[in-house]
Symmetry: D2
Subunit: 342 residues, 4 copies
C-alpha cells in the first residue's frame, strides 16, 4: 500500500526535513517536488544533504504538479495553503505545515495574522488529549507550530490534572532553522553565533494563541500564556522552559504522577527519569520529545521543560506521525526516537 507523496516547498527547511524523513518511510514513494523560487533547479544544489534526490528537478507549485498523489505536504509561507488545498480533491490527504488552519478562534487568527481566517483542520499533535481520534481518517491535517508543540507537551499534563493555575510562563530557545531559509541580516551566521537574542517579546509572537488554545483545552478553562521566544546559536532544537503556579495543596508526587500518566504509552514523548533534564542535542534529528518536570516548592511553581527538534517533532516529524495516523499506518513508521549526538 505504497502512498505517493508530493512536497510543496521542497527547497526550504521544513520541506527538506520532510524529504529526509519520507526517504526513510517504507510506505511512501516521493512524487513531485515543488519550489516556486527555485523551479527548474536540481534539488542537489539546494539540499545537498539529500543525496538520493540530488538529480530531482523542482516544479512550480501548481495544481497540476500536485495532482495524482495520495498525500500532499504543504511547506509554504503562511497564507498560501488555503488556495492550494482547495484545488486538491477531498480524497487527497493534505498535511499543512503552515499556520493557516491551526487556530479555532477566528478572532485570534485575525488579531495575530491580520488576514481572514481560512478555517480549522484536525490538529496534528497526537499526544494532546482528544487529538488522535480526530486524526484517524482525517483528510486534512494542521501541523502545530514548533513552539506550541514544545510548550504544550511540557504543560498539558499539569493542566489536564488541574494542578496548575491558569497563567503559564513560557520562555523558549530555538535553533535558527525555525526562522527559515530566506536570508535576512539578523539571521547571518556572523550575527547568531555566540549570541542569544529574544524577539516577539510581550505576547506578540503568533504562537501565543496556539499555546493558549492547547493548554486551555487541556484545562477546561481559559489559560493565559506569557511567551518569550529567543534565538539560540544552534541550527536546530527547541528548549522550552515552562512554568505555572501550583494550585494550593499540590505536591511533587501529584505532579510526577500526572506526567507519568500522560506519557506512559506515548511512542515519542518521553518523561525522563527523575533528576535527568532534557537537552536539545539528545533529540537532534529525531522525533522524540524529552520532558522533565519539578515542583519548586519555595516559589510554588511547577517547572516543566521539554526538548524537541524544531524541524522534526516540531514540524516534519510531527507531520509524518499525524499522516501515519490518518492513513491507518503504525504511528511510528518511518520515524525514530534516536538523536544524532554528540
Amino acid at each position: 500500500m505504497t502512498m505517493r507523496a508530493a512536497v510543496a516547498g521542497a527547497s526550504g527547511y521544513a520541506g527538506g526535513e520532510l524529504l529526509r524523513l519520507l526517504l526513510g518511510h517504507p510506505e511512501v514513494e516521493i512524487g513531485t517536488l515543488t519550489g516556486n523560487m527555485n523551479a527548474g533547479q536540481l534539488l542537489g544544489s539546494l539540499q545537498p544533504h539529500l543525496t538520493p534526490l540530488a538529480d530531482r528537478e523542482l516544479a512550480a507549485t501548481t495544481t497540476d504538479a500536485l495532482a495524482g498523489h495520495d498525500v500532499v505536504f504543504l511547506a509554504l509561507p503562511h497564507g498560501q495553503s488555503a488556495a492550494v488545498a482547495e484545488e486538491l480533491g477531498p480524497d487527497v490527504l493534505v498535511v499543512d505545515c503552515g499556520a493557516d488552519f491551526r487556530l479555532q478562534n477566528a478572532a485570534a487568527w485575525e488579531t495575530y495574522y491580520g488576514s481572514p481566517h481560512a478555517g480549522t483542520w484536525p490538529y496534528g499533535l497526537p499526544e494532546l488529549p482528544g487529538c488522535r481520534p480526530e486524526l484517524r481518517k482525517a483528510t486534512r491535517i494542521a501541523v502545530p507550530g514548533c513552539y506550541p508543540t514544545a510548550a504544550s507537551l511540557a504543560l498539558f499534563p499539569a493542566y489536564a490534572e488541574r494542578l496548575a493555575e491558569p497563567e503559564a510562563v513560557v520562555v523558549a530557545a530555538s535553533g535558527t532553522s525555525g526562522a527559515g531559509k530566506a536570508p535576512k541580516p539578523h539571521l547571518l551566521g556572523s550575527e547568531v553565533m555566540g549570541s542569544m537574542s529574544p524577539y516577539g517579546v510581550g505576547g506578540s509572537h503568533r504562537h501565543t494563541p496556539e499555546m493558549a488554545q492547547n493548554l486551555g483545552a487541556a484545562a477546561g478553562e481559559p489559560v493565559s500564556v506569557s511567551f518569550t521566544p529567543t534565538l539560540a546559536p544552534m541550527p536546530r532544537g527547541i528548549l522550552a522552559t515552562c512554568s505555572a503556579k501550583a494550585r494550593p495543596g499540590v505536591t511533587a508526587e501529584d505532579v510526577r504522577a500526572a506526567y507519568e500518566k500522560a506519557f506512559a504509552d506515548e511512542p515519542f514523548a518521553r518523561l525522563l527519569p527523575e533528576g535527568q533534564w532534557p537537552n536539545t542535542a539528545a533529540v537532534y534529528g529525531s522525533n522524540a520529545a524529552h520532558i522533565q518536570v519539578a515542583l519548586d516548592d519555595s516559589a510554588r511553581r511547577i517547572v516543566a521543560i521539554s526538548a524537541i527538534d524544531n524541524l522534526t517533532k516540531g514540524t516534519a516529524g510531527g507531520a509524518v506521525q499525524s499522516m501515519n495516523i490518518a492513513l491507518g499506518l503504525p504511528e511510528e513508521l518511518g520515524l525514530s526516537t534516536i538523536g544524532v549526538a554528540p
Copy 2:
C-alpha cells in the same frame, strides 16, 4: 596614584578576565598572579590571549605571595576566600569574585552552600539602590554572581516602583565560561555545541537566594524567585528573560518611566530604545548591560530582558567597577561599553 593589584586564581576564566581588564586600566599595575594548580607555569601557556603577560610565572596562593599590594582580587573556588582574606590587612582592598560574602541571610547561605556563613561584605552591584554609598571607601567587596547581576538589573526598577507582584520568574541562558575551566564531560565542546541544556531547575541553583535578596531589598518586601538557568552554546554572555505579574492598574507608560528613571544616569546599564531588544553579542567583552522591558497586557506580566557578558559585567568588569568606586577613582576607568561584535 598607581595601585598595585594581585590576582589570586589567575589561571581560571574569572582571573583571566580580570587581567584582560586590568591590563587596560590606567591606574593599576599588575602584581603577583597566583594559581595553585598551575603554580610555576607561565601564563602564556594557560591564557594565550593575554599576550603582554605571556612570560609571567604563577605563584602558589599564599599570604606571602599576596602581601604588599593595594588591591587583591580573589577568583577562587567558593569557600576559599574567607581564609585568604583574613590574612590580608584591613588597609588592603579585597575584591572577592566568589560567593562567600554575598548573602546577608546566614540561614539561606547554609541551606544553599552547606557550610557556615562567613559574613557579608558590601555588595558590588552599584546600579542597585543603596549600593554605591556602601562601596565608597569599602575595603572589602563581594562581587555579585553573574546571574543575579543580570536578573537584578532587569527587574529591580519594577520592584523599586512597586509595579510588580512579589513573585518573579527568571529564565536565563548563559555561555559556558560561567561553568568554569575545570574539565567535566558535560562541558566538552562536543556536548555543548548545538545544545541548550537546563540545570539547577526547581529553585536549587545557588544564585536564587541572591536574586531574592536584591529584588526584596528593592521592593521593600520579600520577593520569591523561580529561577531556571540554562547552558547555551556560546562561550560568553547571559540573556536573562525575567517577568512578574503587573500590579492592578499598572500601564506600559508606568513601566517605561520606571526603567528610564532607574538607568538615566548609569554609565554601564543602558535601557535600549523602545522596540529594540538586547542580545548578548552586543555586549561581548564589554561592561555594558543592555536592558529592555515591555508590559504584556494580555497576560498582565512585565517582561524585562537583560544581556550582559557573564565574565565582564557579570564578574571581572563588575569587580573593577566596584574597585574604582571604593578607591575614589572615576567609575568608568579602564572599562568599556563597547562590545566585540559580530
Copy 3:
C-alpha cells in the same frame, strides 16, 4: 539471519555512534554493551540520545561479557584491542575501531605509537582498490582512522591513475568528537567554540603513516604526506583539503575522468557535480563521503576536497559497511547517505 552484536566501549562517542546505527540495522540485534569506567550505569544517563536503549546497563569489558555474539565491535582506547580480540574465537567477527591493526609496517607503528606492533587486519575502507575482496569473509577488520578515510578518498584516484607527484599535502579540519569524550581543558566548549586550533603539526599525528600507506598502495610507489589536523568549532565532521602537484601534461579532463571512474559505482562515496564543493553539514550523521576535485593550472596542483562525518563514515558507519561486506550482507544495509541538515 539476525546477527547478535556486542559493543565494547559503549559509553564513548564511537560506541554511541555504533549503537545509533545498529539500532537501525535490520539484521542486527544489540547484545552486550560494555564500558569499564561506567560499568553498572544505565546507558540513558550516558547517551541520552539513544532513547530505545535508555534502560540498558553497561557491563565491564570482559571475555565473558563479550562471549556468545556473532559480531564484536571494539571501540576502546588504542592498545587495548589485541588482548580482547585474542580471547574471542576465530568464528566471531571482530571489528576494531581502534588503531591497533591498521598499519602494515611494524616500524611505522612503533615510531608513531611507541609500543610493539600487534599485527595487521583487513582494512575497512572498501572504496580503496583491493580492499573489498579482503573484507569478504574476513573475521577481523581494522576500521580506518577518520582523517585517513577522508584524505584517502580525496586523493587515491589521482594516485591510482598516476596523475600526481608522490608528495601530498593534507590540511583537515575536524569536529571535536574526534578527540573523544575524556574531559580535557582544551576540549571544553568555552575553549573550542569560536576557535580554530591546529595540533600534531609537522608530521607527528599518528594518522600520517596510515595516509601514506593508503596513497602509496594506490600509487604503486611511496608517497610522502604532510598532514596538519585542526580542531574546528563543531561537534562532527571532517573537511579534508588535499593537494599534490600534477604530473607534467595532466589536464583537468584527465583529473575529472579519474575521479568519475573511481566513484562511479560507489554507494557512499559521491563525486559532486562540477562546480559544487562539499561541506560537512551535508553529510552530518550520514555514511556519505562528498568529494570534489579541481586542477589549479596556475599552481599546477590537483586540489581534492572531501567531507565526511568523522563518527559515521569516519568510524562507526565505515565499521558497519565493512561488517556488511564481511557477513555477505548488502553493503548499504542499515546505512544512509542522507545528512541531517541544516
Copy 4:
C-alpha cells in the same frame, strides 16, 4: 594633535570594527559616518555593540559628507574606492580597506577582478620587509586582504631567508564575518553553524595574486601559491596553515632562526614559544598575529601557521596600525595585543 576621522561604510563589519577601535584611540575624534543603504538610520540599530555611538545618524557617502576630515577610512565594496578617493584632496589621509589599490600588477588585477586597474597605493602590512618606510608620510594606504595578511605573515620569513622552494600551499579557515554583512543563503547561521565549507578552490580566490605578490617580493623571485579558503563556524578569526618545500640542507634551526629574526621587534606579530601553536580564540578582537613554524623533516616541508582576527589585524586594526605610521604616531596607539577569550 587630535585627528578627525570619517568612516565610509560604517554599517558593515569592517566599518563597525574601525569604529570599535577608533573609539579607543586617544588621538582620533570620530567625525562623519556614512552608509548608503542605511543613510538616515541611527547607528544604534545597526551596530548595537557600539554603545557610545548609538545616537549617531548615518549620512550618504558623498564628497561633501567626507570633506573636512584629516583621515578618511573607506570600507566600501570593491571598485568604489577610486571614485571617492579622487575627490578627496591630497592632504587627506585615505585608508582603503577595499581591494582596489592592493595589486601592483595591472594584468593580475584585471584577471581576478574583471575591471580596469585603478592603481597601486602603499601597502599596509608593516611587518613585511620594505613596507614601513613606504607608509611613513603616505597619504594613501591600501589595507591588505585578510587572508594575505595571515598567509604573508606566516611565510615571508621562510622566503626572505631563501629557505623555501617557490611553491606555497595555503589552506585557511575564516570566520564568517569575512564574507560581509550582505545576507546570502549560504551565510545564514543555519547553514554555517556546524559546517566547514570551502570556496574559491583551485586558485580562483582574489586573494591569491596578493599572496603571490607579497611572497614573491620577500623571495626575490616569483612564488606560486595554491590557496584554498574555507568558511568556519565562527564569527571571527583566520587560521592559515601554510607550507612550502624546504630547500635542500635547510634545518629546523635555520627555520627557527629566520622566524625569530623576522618577528623579534614586532609589536603585533608574535612568534610563539616552541611547541605552542596559535589558535584564533587567543587573538579574538585583538591586533595580534600569533605565529608558529616547524620543519616536517619526513615530508621536507616548512609548515607555518598564523592566527589573526580577520576584522582586526586582518582589516581594521591593520588599517589603524598603518594610519599611525603614516601620521607619525606611535605604531601601537589605540591597538591591543590582548584577545577576548575564552
